[in-house]
Symmetry: C2
Subunit: 309 residues, 2 copies
């Protein structure tokens, strides 16, 4: 199956196929938070590597993909980078789509190095990476070669955090908001990379905490896969998270990190990975219920198609 997914050679198609196979648009965010003292914040008795790997294994049934927050591994130095490499090995074994969340972006030669780092065959190789395009198209172009080889991007368009409005909401002299201009560029960059599922491998990060903007983002980027952060700990619920869903139930992948990784804190009767799995299952089900409420009959068709496949 892994080989089959990989030889599809189209990221958005692979992600959509994984979503259908799991009946889940949920993504497990692998975010081993730091405590304020700088030491890893992990359940008692677990190392960084062990907790992340066991959480990925436990949640694999309920999510289509994992999103690794690179910062939390970089913060642990070499030990963290070794753990990152080990987590990715587990994810590949479970045939999970892997997204390196690093918000990277730099001039051409440097972006090419990031493409090699996170979409190559090395220790940190994933299926997709998140980008920040303050520096313009130079950031994105070195990734196109990897996209042709089946990899994907998610460009930050409308982020989930409170201060996202500071620069993303600046209105230009024609009345267009900054994030809308970025959305336009993302659509353009992705035009050549639309797959059989109707979605491009040049995706966008569109936070769940701004559902009205997410709907508008969908109008601006009809064929773009949205990576939706902000679910759970950041405050958005299932209804907000699916605001940008397409009529066929495709087009979004919703991430939750803390509310899954740290579910054990409010479910002390379960072992920590089992608590994460229960939270991931609930997230999947809550999202599916919200999709059925929103899409009704048209989504049933999608599910039927999935069951027949």
């Amino acid at each position: 199956v892994e080989q089959a997914v990989r030889t599809m050679n189209h990221f958005a198609d692979s992600l959509r196929k994984a979503q259908m196979a799991k009946n889940s648009i949920a993504i497990l965010g692998v975010d081993p938070q730091l405590t304020t003292s700088g030491s890893p914040d992990l359940p008692r008795g677990y190392t960084l590597k062990r907790y992340c790997c066991e959480t990925v294994e436990a949640c694999a049934e309920f999510v289509a993909a994992i999103k690794i927050q690179l910062a939390f591994f970089e913060a642990q130095g070499l030990n963290g980078m070794h753990a990152l490499s080990d987590v990715l090995k587990v994810a590949r074994r479970y045939k999970l789509i892997t997204i390196a969340d690093g918000k990277r972006g730099d001039i051409d030669t440097v972006s090419a190095a990031y493409a090699e780092a996170y979409l190559g065959d090395g220790d940190f190789g994933c299926d997709a990476v998140t980008l920040n395009i303050y520096m313009g198209g130079d950031v994105v172009k070195p990734f196109f070669r990897k996209i042709k080889a089946g990899k994907g991007l998610f460009v930050c368009v409308r982020t989930s955090n409170a201060s996202s409005v500071e620069f993303q909401d600046i209105r230009d002299d024609r009345g267009i908001l900054h994030w809308q201009k970025v959305a336009h560029s993302v659509k353009e960059w992705g035009t050549d990379y639309v797959g059989k599922c109707g979605l491009s491998s040049v995706g966008a990060v569109v936070g769940a905490t701004h559902p009205d903007d997410a709907e508008e983002a969908r109008d601006l980027m009809p064929n773009t896969m949205f990576l939706v952060p902000g679910y759970g700990a950041q405050g958005a619920g299932p209804k907000e998270a699916i605001a940008a869903i397409r009529d066929d139930g495709s087009g979004i992948a919703v991430n939750a990190s803390r509310s899954i990784m740290y579910a054990y804190r409010s479910a002390r009767e379960l072992r920590p990975p089992a608590a994460a799995a229960a939270a991931a299952k609930k997230m999947r089900d809550d999202l599916n219920q919200a999709i059925e409420v929103r899409l009704g009959a048209s989504f049933q068709t999608t599910k039927k198609h999935h069951r027949a496949a």
Copy 2:
């Protein structure tokens, strides 16, 4: 001396002091480029670690700081991250200021992890880090605690690449360019962190390839240390690189990467680290000459002050 610099507890003061001590505003960019095939592009007989460490040692006399392009180490996986850790050990031994160039930036908890990763005491701990603030002030605030402990930031304002104009030059409904708004925020964020040298530890990345913009950036951010990329391989010369210098000769630190690291390709009579050292020395001298032409007598005062110190 290292201890003395570190207990100054102010990044901009430390960097300015190092510039005076070395009589150099040059920065060595440690950018071990990739070849198109994805293998490291190094002189014959050198490993990644050995070439980077020996280049830092050879150039230490001529530069105040090194800037590590993280992407090129991440691209080499675990081997690259071990090399990064080793390069930083050499840099600390030579009392060089270290700048992690990663253009990082994310929501609060994630930015706090980046602060720990690159301004903490771990394997990748440096003296300053470069940031990308598309996500707004949330990106910067988690770094303030590190600034108070003597660390620094360089926020991308006006980058050196061709496509920087795509988003950075968007004009808002009041006629202000996007990068100018970012400059305003950088000035505000830095107000509480101005040191004895008159410069804030919240610095800015302002490329040498736009000298007119650099002068304007100086007007907008009079007390901001500028990290100036774009010298050498990216096309800017010494005159362009010092466009934003302050009257006392302070305020800028100019980076060159490829033109130093790969000087051996056009100086085949020298061993590669020696070729890098010769290029770094020439860069220092060329910058100093440009400063003397630009500032004349006022810079002599600075130099005299330095010699007396």
